[in-house]
Structure formats: C-alpha cells, structure tokens
Subunit: 361 residues, 4 copies
C-alpha cells in the first residue's frame, strides 16, 4: 500500500475485516509492505495496522515479488507513476479517486495499466454502500421506469478557512479541489446509477483569494438516457459534514439518499397506493446487498465498512469470481469520471455547454 | 377578482380570514365582484365565496367604482391587459405570478402600472410563509455571515402524463411551463433571500413530445453577493408533490426549508457548540413572523394561510402602513423574476452562460 | 357559543370557513350570540369574529330561540350546567373536552343531554385530522392485521414555571391538569383507533409544589383487543410544543403520527417487499379524508382546519346526513374518556392496576 | 470466549479492531481459545475469527493459564457458572446481559465474582454509543437542568411468528424474553443517564399462546431524581427493527435518541433563542466521545463499533487506567438492571406498583 493517512487507515481496516466478516474471503489478504514519505509516520502506520514492513520508497513495493496487489491511497500526484509501475510489474492495482488529476492523465493511467493485463479498480467506495447497491439493483430491475431526473450534491464544510493548508489545496499535488475530491464521487454515482452524462453547463468556483484549486463546482447536466438534473460539489456548505445526497425520479418511482444516513434508502413507488410516500428503508435485511456478512436487521454499519465491500469485491475479481465491472469501477470508469469533471471546468472557462466526449483505448 | 379556480379559492379564503385573524385588519375587505369566462362556474364561485356579483367580462370590474383593489388570479395570458386597465382606472392591483409571460411583457406591465401611481404587488405568496420570513430576518441580521451557496428546487410530479390537457400546457395561455409556474417562485425566493442573480447556465427541457411548454428547467447560477448554486423546477419529480426546497450556506450558519413542511425552518449555527447540527425550528412562537395572529406554539398553519399574510400585507400597504417592498414583491420584483427565467431559456437555446441584465423604467 | 378565547377563536374560524370550504355546506351557519364573563373581551370577540351579539350570561343564549346549536368552549367548570340547559332548551350541543371534570360529571352530562334527544358531540378535534382519519380507515379495512401495540403521548412544555397562573391550574375550574387537557385526547384517540382500554397501571404526577392539578400522567395499559402499550401526557416536556404522538403495531403493519407534522402519516406494511420501511405519507391526495374540500396534493392544511372538519361533521349530523358516531365523538365517548382518565388517577392513588368499567345509561 | 454466534462475532470483531483503531491499545488482545457446544460450529468460528483453539468445554478455557480475560457471550443459562468459575481462576470477566436470569442469580454472580477481586463488566454496549456517552456528559454538566421525564422503548419486530424456535423462547435457557433481552438495555440506559428507578407499575405480556417467555413489557416508572416516565420492550413492533429510542426532558433542555440512527443525538436547549428546536447532532466531531479513534466528521460508525469502545474500556480498566464504573457497567450494574426487570414482572403478577429495592453485598 502507498499512503498511510486517511485512506491508509480505511483500506488497512478493510483488509483486516475481510478476513472474517466476508467469510470465507475470496483470497486471504496478507499485509506485506506500506510506503509513505514520512519515515516515522509510515513506520508507525506499519506497526499500527500490521504491515510487515514500511518504506519511504514505493518502488520497494513494486520490486517486491511477494506483493500481488498494489493499493494506491497516496495523494493525487502520486497516482499515475506508482500505479503504472506496479501494473507493469504484474501486480493488480487499486487506486484511489480521482484516478488522474485530469482526464488526460486518467486516460494515460488506464491505457498503460490496461496494456499490462492486470486487474484494476478505481476506489469509488460509495458504490459499495448497501443502499447505493440496492438502488442500482432496483434501477436494473426497471422499478423506476423511465428516468427523468438526477440531482446530486456532495456537501462538506471544512474548506471555508483561509488559514488551512494541505496538499488538497495545491494544484500540483491535487490537480483540483472539490472537483477531484468530491465531484468525482458525484459523477461516478451518476454514471453508476444513470449511465453516461451527455453534457454539462456550469463552472468551478474558488471563494478564497489565492487558493490554487476550486472550492466548489455547480452544473446543470443532461444524461444519455434523456434525464436532466444538477450536480454540485463543495467544501463550503456549513452544516453539512459529509452529505453526499442524491435523488432520482422516474416514471414509476423515485429514490433518495444521504451519506450522513448511509444505512437508509428512501424509496417512492408510483403504484397508486392510497398511502403513497417515500419509504425510509433501513438497508440491513438478509436479502439486501452485502448484508449476508453482517448483523441482524437494524444493526447498522459504518462508513468504514464500505471499504470492506469494495476490497472484497476486488479480491473476488482477482480470484476470478466476477469482473471488476459493472459493480466496481475499473480504470475506464475512473477515466470517464475525469472527463465529466474536466468538462465542468471547461464549461466554466468557455461559458458554453460542453458535450462530454469519452475516449476509448 | 379575476379568476375563480385555484387562486380564486385561495385569495377569497384569505380575504375572509383577514377580517378576524389579523385583528384589527388594516382595511376591511368587501368582496364585490368576481369575473371568469365560464358563466355558470363564476356564478357558483360568487355564491360559494361570497362575492356580491359575478361577471364574464372583467371590464365590468374595471368599470365598477366601488372596487378599489383588483386581484388578478386569472391565467397568465390574462395578466397584462386587465391588470393595466384596472390600474389605469385607479385601482390598486395584485397579480398572480408570473407577472407576464416573459420579461418583455412583465416589464410592460410594470411600466404601465407604475405610471398610474397605484399600489401593485406580484403574488409571490411564499415570501409570506413564517419560516421564509424568519429566514429573511436571520439573514438581514447577519446571522449567516457571508453567503456561499444557495440551492433550490421546486419539485412537483403531476406533469408526467401525455394525456393531460390544461391551459398550463398552452404556449399562448401560459407562456411557459415549469418555468413560469414553479421556477418563478424559486427565482423570487432566491432574490428575496439572496439578492440578485448575476448569471445562469442551464436550460429548459420538455420531456413529452409535442407539449408546447417546458416540463423542467435546470441551472447553475452565480449571485451578485458572490454565492453560487443550482436552481431547478420540474413537474416530473415523482414522489414530490409540492416540494419547494432551498438551502443557504454562509460562513456563520445555514438554513434549509421544504414547503411540504412549511411550518419548519432548519437552522444551523457554526458557533462552535459541541452539540452542533441543524435545528428543526417549528416556526410558531409568539415572536415569530405573523404568529401574533394565530394559535399557541406548535399549532401549525396551512399553505392557504400564506395568502392571509400576503393580502394583509398588501391591504396594509394600501392603508399606508408600509411599502409593498421589501417584504412583499411589487411589479418590479415580478419583472426581475421574469428576466432570470428568460435567461435560463436563453441559455438553453444559446448553449452559453447568460448574464442577467435587469432593466429600469 | 360560550367562550371567546382559544377555542372561541378556533370554532368561530371554523364556522366561517365551513361556508365556502366545504361546499355546499350541510347547513349554513349563522353566528348569533357569544357569551363570556368579561364584558369587554366578549364584546370585542363578537365584533372580531362576526357574532351578532355578545352577552356575559350564557343563559341569554339558552333563551334565544334563533339559536339551534350551542357550542360550549368555556372552561371545564362551565361544561355541565350550560350544556345541559341548552340541550333541555332543544338546542344541539357541542362541548369541548374534557366533557366533565371527572367521570361522574361526564356521565351526568351525557345522561341528561341524551334524555333530551338533541344531537351531541364532544369536541375531540384530532379525530378530524386527515391523517388520523386515514389511519382509522386503514385499521377498519384490516390493513394492520391483529393489533399488538399502541403507544401514545401528548407532550407540551409550557407548564414548567411555578409563576404561571391560569384557570387550567385550578382544581375547581379545570378538575385536573394534563389529565383533562391532554390525556383525554390521548385516550380518545386510543379509543377511536384501538377500541376500549381494559386496564391501566400508572399515576398522575405534580412537579410544582402547591399546584392543585397534575402536571403529567403516565400509564401502562391493556386493550380489550389484546394489545398493550403506554400512555403519557405532560406539560413538562421541554422541546415539544404540541406533540401528540402515537404509534400502532399490528401483525400486518404499523402506523405512526405526530401532531407537529399533522399532515403526515407514517405507514409500514409487513408485505415482504424487499424495500421495506415506514412511508411518510403526505395526507393530501384527492382520495384522502376531507381532501375534497381543499387544495391540490402537497398543499398542506393547518391545525385550525381540523375544526372545520369537526364542525362540518356535526352540522351534517344535525342535517341528518349521518350519525355523530363513529367518526365523531358523542357524549358517550366523552364520558368514556373520563373513565380512563379517572382510572389513571385512581391507579396512582391505590398503587394498583385499575380495570376500567364503562357505565351505560 | 464462550459463545460463537451473534455476540461471538461482535466481540471477536472488536478485539481485532481494538489493536489498530484505538491506538495504542491499552493492552494487546491475543485471541486464545473459544468454547461452544457445537463442535463443528465452534471450530469454524475459531478459524474464521482467528482464535488459536476451539473447545466444546468452557472449563478448558478456565483452566488455561494463558487466558487473562474471560468473555462470556453464551446463552443466559450459561452466564453464572462459567463466569464465576473464570473469576475464581483469577481471570477478569466480561459477561453479556442480562447478567443472570433474574435478580437473585445476578446478585449471586456479582457476589461471587466480587469476592475474587477480578475486574468485571456487564456488556451493556449501548453505553458506548458516542451519542449516548455525549448525552451522559451533557447531563453530568448540568446542561439539562432538573430532569422531568424519561421515556424509552426498545422495539424489535422479529418475534411475532408462532413457528419460531430459539433458545431465546425457552424459560430455562433465557429466563425471560423481551425483558432480559431488550428491557435490560432500556433499564441500564435509564440507570446510566438518570440514576435509580424508584418504582414501577406495569407488566410483562406474552402474545403467542404457549410461548414460555414474555414477548413485551410495559411500565410507568418513577425515578429517585424525581422524574417520571414510561418504559417498553417488545419483539412485536412491526416496522421497528432495532429501535432503542429514548427521550429526556429537563428544565433546561431535552435529548432524544434512536439506535436505528445511532450516530445522531437530538439536542434541545431551552435557551430563549428565537430559533428554538431540536438539533440533529451528528456525533462524529473530534471533541465527541470515542471519535479520536475514527474518521473525519460525518463519516459515521456502525453498531458493531460500539463493542470496540466497550472492550477497549474494559482493557483499559484491566490496565489500571480507570475503573470500570461509571462509564462501564460492572456486575453491580448488571444486578441492578435485573432488580428493575424483576419488579416489572412482579408488578404484572401482583397488580401493584412495586418499589425497587436494591441489595448490597
């Protein structure tokens, strides 16, 4: 693994839990090596999370023949080179989002990794929220009919402080701000639930003078399936800590979700029932996605547990049980999210509606 | 009054209740004449709602010297001529929204009515929801700090049926669809709470082939105060019956509202309290807007009661107690809402971000 | 009408609105006389609410041959004598709850009024909340199966102040505190939705030293239909302004309600749907109770509007369209609520579970 | 550990996570042996959860000198003997609730274990929900003033099926039904947040003919601190999966909680703020209980994570960092919960209010 902070903790926790929560696991993860720039911190992380060794050079991991899976949870600027190198060394690769800092870089990562033949996954973990997967299954089953609307927003509130300093505000390290950090999640879920975004009209916006990256982004969008809606991502929404909210309206029903209540899916059915209204579904029944692994109904899971599902999915893909797609996001999905994000930025600069053109290899 | 259906019922009810709910009323309304095209229907309405006489020619009302206030709740195509004629006959005028079918018509109504010197109000009744007025007062007091975001949507679900037929789907009668019917409310509240919208990137959209007017509209917007956000209006949001929802995020707090729970305002204060979070404020305290007229705390009011506040406000304006502005919308406000709506339509056609230019008389 | 304050305002408003909201009304109410102890206040009320005359002696109303309906909204100590006198004068009578200050007084009112042959209704207005009536209809249709539980509470917060002084704290005027004011509503709804309460184990409680009446009451109860549950009423629940909350669980579903969101009914169906959960039903559809009179779906009504339904129901009963029962509460229902309330008080004093014995005439 | 099913999984997961989530852990748990009656199942559990060995005889664990902590997650009938034996062998003991099958058995366990001098904890894990601990801290700080009310209920819905068969329905194995399973949690939280329960009026109830244990229990209660309220526990509340709900009203504020949204605490402050109402606090801030171990704000935890906090607390107690009390429940607390539960059963049988008498060693 590359990276030992937020994502390092989340992924390490998942690898431990996969061993006994998803029983029997498709593959038994062994935590070999972890890399990071700060020698003391990465060493502490190795001890804390049970990695066999720590290194300040990710190339050590690439060179280690015992390692079959390379998990890249480093900052955005460190996505391309290590991920490609690991793939070229024959390791399967999972890379945190955004895949690259823009669509060109994402395309290049996808292209070079795909050429190696290894399995690849872009870590859009919110596909692995039980409520999100249930939504996907209801949509696949046609229970919403023809889709009219998708409106989504990822609202956080920690960015509204000029004195803050983190790699996330550096154009070189992060590539973008709320766009790459939050809008990618919105766009990937849009893609996962709705299919391709066709066009965007909007812009990225920076509130704090001198900040190198965007603080927020807003867009009106059209989908290839004929639906229309709005997308938003911001680090300036006081009152909202981790509110990835979306709603879908179709001719036969509607779905709504809020990550701050990630165990719940709100479901409306236009079935003519006299008692009509949104159901608050606690997604924790034996026949709900991923729930075979967990607790009795009503005993909810946490945000960290989405990574258990995600990395379990990738291990099962490596084990040949299924493909990464369509329930996981592979690097093509990672690239496609970048295209939409770039289009929003482009629209803001050009003042024009931008059609999203997805490239193939 | 012109019009006897939905708005005719709502306004008649308000005139009756003003007499004893807002006690003492600024002026005692006497219900003189009501006009409508269908002779039997308007006659029934007169009897039901207690109007002294009914007529199928609104000119009879304009010619009636006993009438001092002309209330236009007719279809959009009947806003301009009767309203202007009534004003020119020296009657104060209240006109349902949208003021005109487009900005040019709205400007013309405003211009001609303003020239007469009568009082005029555009019936944006949602300004008179206690929770909305409370929001305005909190904003005026600076309790939200600098404003970062406004996101709003007016979601209804009755339009998704190709067999429906109403004047609301006629381009000639209505001018537009969700834009004039719903987006005007969104835009007026944006204006009421945030100030001027500076630019819009978006579009109107029609789902049903052959329908003359738009079914939905989507926009990413910027405000003169530096905030950014999204606006939406639709008649195709299954599951949402009358959901005018908005949220404002500022540097010191946030506010959120949903018309389906119109007695509640959600209030967040970034005050460092360890127990932080949105409050669900039941806007029914003695020191809340309009509540002096009503019941003990917690005994909520209904949608229809917003018209009591609205028309009471206009009667008080006629009585000289205050101006129509800033808490009521006058015809300039009605016109300005039309400019933003037109800009969204224009943006959809041009594929460009449209700066909103507000004309003066 | 006797009484011009809270209930006087609520009932006067209803009589006005019945004339045009419930169209055509079963009978056309004419507001003749209003009585109250304070001459100036009752005179103001007559002027405000449009009563033809005011009097400080309710006997004037009883003696007035023009009056066919006597509406008693006075304090509890003034329920028995005027109501009985009016009935004996041949007037139909509606009396605010609690019918009497205890079961014996309630029984006596019922007995004497029943002997006259007039129509009588005890003003349990919460039966006329659309969501409550819808609940009753779902229960009648067997949609909840066998009933297991009923838990209800009426929570208000205004009583927790030793300096407060009102007739509501006087044993002579009110008879009881939260019991007669709030628990009666709880008990009547229990009766309306569940049928008879069989036994109670609990107590009334007074927090403020020296206060003559109870501040709160708590009970564990059994129902004749086999269900069990809890009841509570209090004026000491800070944070709750008018929260009459109840929930029913049956073998086939569940219902939940909160008066602070009186337009909503929460409905659960144990139907095996994979997307299971409580629906939030906005009770405002054309096929919902009372909604034929009102607005398009989603345009909610207020607390005051429940009196429109209630008094309309009584006028229709007087007009012979239906009986007061089962949807309205007659004086027998008023008496039965008193029996349960008394049993709670008795249980508190005896320290024993009290079986509720309902007397007949 | 004794027991490998529901609690076996929950506790094993917690011991694994303590190693890296609560960093550095107070003691490093080593998973030595696990006991259970079914040889194959316990062997599978040992493999799955990483226990070194499995046995069908819990005495093997008691005899194992490597084991310093005995965790009893077996059925209720297996609480007393193994727990006492382990303590007498010098092992610290944690035992699932209810401590014993009735107060006498609980007292005996407490007495005999206390005599050994080992540390003991009764596994009331809901004390370790961050929102519950935050509530306790707010109460300790006096932020609610004098307490007026506590109303609580633990609602589940799985029991309403006559064909179900489990040790939980056996009087010999479980001792009681909803009482020992659910009401103990309610009672312990009442004790944790409010202090001692003084008296109960209520009953246990069995719906299913022939079932040996209670299906539900209802009580009206008084507290030593002067508050009054209701308690309920049921396995027959269709629509509620794991709804441990409670609300506290005090003179200065109120708190409300629902386990199905365990990351949220609702907080009301009677502070005279014009914008008054319950706050929905997402208990996930850096200064919230237990949150130092977890994720950024808004990234919620799951039900299973409460055991991480609970067992971490006990390890720290063993390490001498603090006592088990007051934040953890020791065996005296386990015993006291049994006394209240017994009193409810007694009250149902006697038809009398039962004063709760707590015995000392």
């Amino acid at each position: 693994m590359l990276g030992y902070e937020f994502m390092g903790k989340a992924h390490s926790n998942a690898f431990h839990k996969i061993r006994y929560i998803t029983w029997p696991p498709p593959l038994e993860p062994v935590l070999v090596g972890i890399a990071g720039r700060n020698e003391e911190a990465v060493s502490d992380a190795a001890q804390r999370y049970g990695w066999e060794y720590a290194t300040t050079d990710w190339r050590d991991l690439v060179a280690d023949d015992r390692i079959g899976l390379f998990d890249n949870g480093g900052p955005n600027a460190l996505h391309a080179e290590p991920t490609i190198a690991a793939a070229e060394a024959g390791k399967h690769v999972v890379c945190e989002k955004p895949l690259g800092r823009d669509a060109d870089e994402s395309l290049e990562i996808w292209r070079q990794v795909a050429a190696t033949g290894v399995k690849h996954m872009c870590a859009f973990n919110y596909r692995f929220v039980p409520a999100v997967r249930l939504a996907r299954e209801l949509l696949e089953a046609g229970e919403l009919g023809e889709i009219r609307h998708f409106r989504a927003r990822y609202l956080q509130d920690w960015g509204d402080d000029p004195s803050l300093d983190t790699w996330r505000f550096s154009a070189a390290d992060a590539g973008s701000g709320a766009i790459g950090d939050l809008m990618t999640h919105v766009v990937d879920l849009a893609h996962f639930l709705m299919g391709d975004i066709a066009s965007v009209s909007g812009f990225a916006h920076t509130f704090i003078p001198g900040r190198e990256v965007d603080d927020a982004a807003e867009a009106a969008v059209t989908f290839a399936n004929g639906a229309v809606g709005t997308l938003e991502a911001t680090r300036f929404a006081h009152g909202r800590r981790n509110a990835l909210q979306w709603e879908i309206n179709g001719t036969k029903g509607a779905l709504a979700f809020d990550m701050e209540r990630l165990n719940e899916l709100r479901v409306f059915r236009a079935d003519g029932d006299r008692a009509r209204g949104f159901k608050t579904v606690l997604v924790s029944e034996a026949d709900h996605p991923f729930w075979e692994y967990w607790w009795p109904p009503g005993h909810i899971i946490g945000w960290g547990d989405t990574f258990v599902h995600e990395l379990h999915h990738f291990l099962a893909a490596i084990a040949g049980e299924h493909a990464v797609r369509p329930y996981g996001a592979d690097f093509e999905d990672g690239y496609r999210a970048s295209e939409v994000c770039d289009a929003i930025v482009r629209s803001g600069r050009s003042g024009r509606r931008e059609t999203v053109a997805y490239r193939s290899l």
